[in-house]
């Protein structure tokens, strides 16, 4: 709905109302009592019709914005959705956001599985290398008996085999970790779509506010001039989740800031 359309619309409304009002005045002046009632109703109906048209347009616009919301970045996602199905996608958006949570959870789990499996392997390589290093040093200093040397020889052989196998196992795990980060791309796309839906809804709401203002004007409703009271400060402190705007003065910038604040409180 462009501004010009709206102005034309508004002029048309005013002309319509003026014509009918003049007709009413004429009837009143002529003392045409039988037709005064009809003229009043006519005027009323014209006013109502325009309100309905405006509200109807808005409702359609809002509905379109919601229906057009489709955040499926790849149609391959298993959601059994029929093509061309024109249901509201709002519920779907909630599912998609759940999908983001699931995807990030799966990825985090997979990554941590790999880390948990990898740490003991790295630990064992370290421990065995450390032990060999000690004996290797004794060999270099010629402090080793031939019997011990044979043992070291065997252990060295085993260690080389073991470290070869372990490092391929570790690379495999590191690659799995790398691949587990693919969620970023997928969730990013879904979240971007949600952001644009929110923007569309916001624009529609602004438009709704604007039309609501005109409806008030058309109907002559008295605007409530009382400013909405700012919500009274809640006594208890609520959890807010991560602070997105970290440059705000009432938000700490990091752990150092937390430590400073706590030490100022005697911690």
């Amino acid at each position: 709905m462009s501004g010009t359309d709206q102005e034309n619309m508004s002029d048309q409304v005013w002309d319509d109302l003026k014509t009918r009002a003049q007709a009413l005045i004429q009837k009143l002046e002529e003392g045409d009592s039988s037709n005064i009632h009809t003229a009043i109703e006519d005027l009323n109906a014209a006013r109502d019709r325009n309100i309905y048209v405006e509200v109807g347009k808005l409702t359609r616009g809002l509905h379109e914005a919601i229906v057009n919301f489709d955040i499926d970045p790849s149609s391959s996602v298993e959601d059994g959705e029929e093509d061309g199905e024109q249901t509201s996608q709002m519920t779907n958006a909630q599912d998609r956001l759940d999908y983001v949570i699931n995807l990030t959870q799966t990825s985090a789990d997979k990554t941590m599985d790999m880390v948990e499996e990898g740490i003991p392997i790295a630990g064992e390589i370290h421990d065995r290398a450390q032990a060999l290093k000690v004996d290797w040093g004794r060999l270099q200093r010629r402090e080793m008996a031939p019997e011990e040397f044979r043992d070291l020889y065997r252990r060295m052989d085993e260690f080389l085999e073991f470290s070869g196998n372990s490092s391929s196992l570790l690379s495999e795990k590191l690659n799995t970790i790398l691949l587990a980060q693919d969620f970023q791309d997928l969730t990013g796309q879904v979240i971007k779509k949600v952001i644009s839906l929110v923007q569309e809804v916001e624009e529609s709401l602004v438009e709704l506010m604007r039309v609501a203002g005109q409806v008030e004007e058309l109907t002559g409703m008295v605007r409530n001039t009382d400013e909405p009271k700012s919500p009274t400060k809640v006594a208890s402190i609520e959890a807010e989740g991560p602070q997105v705007k970290t440059d705000s003065p009432d938000v700490v910038t990091g752990q150092d800031d937390v430590d400073d604040l706590l030490s100022s409180l005697g911690f």
Partner: protein, 127 residues
Amino acid sequence: MDKDMKILIVDDFSTMRRIIKNLLRDLGFTNTAEADDGSTALPMLQNGNFDFLVTDWNMPGMTGIDLLKAVRADDRLKNMPILMVTAEAKREQIVEAAQAGVNGYVVKPFTAAVLKEKIEKIFERIG
């Protein structure tokens, strides 16, 4: 510091519990248990001989700040050291937690080094 002390980790996200559990294990603490919010944590604390509590703030059900207050109000638990590990980063929130009797406060995202430092500091202070 007793490496065998029993630690309860409270966070609604299993990922975060797992990260904290792994970091604690890396620091030598292996005796840990988990709860996903204050209302499941509190009975565990009351029955479980825990030595240390690590809790998030923002959780469904009972929040971490309410858990902190409940622990401080419980005669048998009131001396338990509590570390808050949370994304809540407003000054008034940190002040609130301090006034409620928290022993340490770590903001997410955090590093292993910060967690270690705060835990050491808590046990240094309480001896």
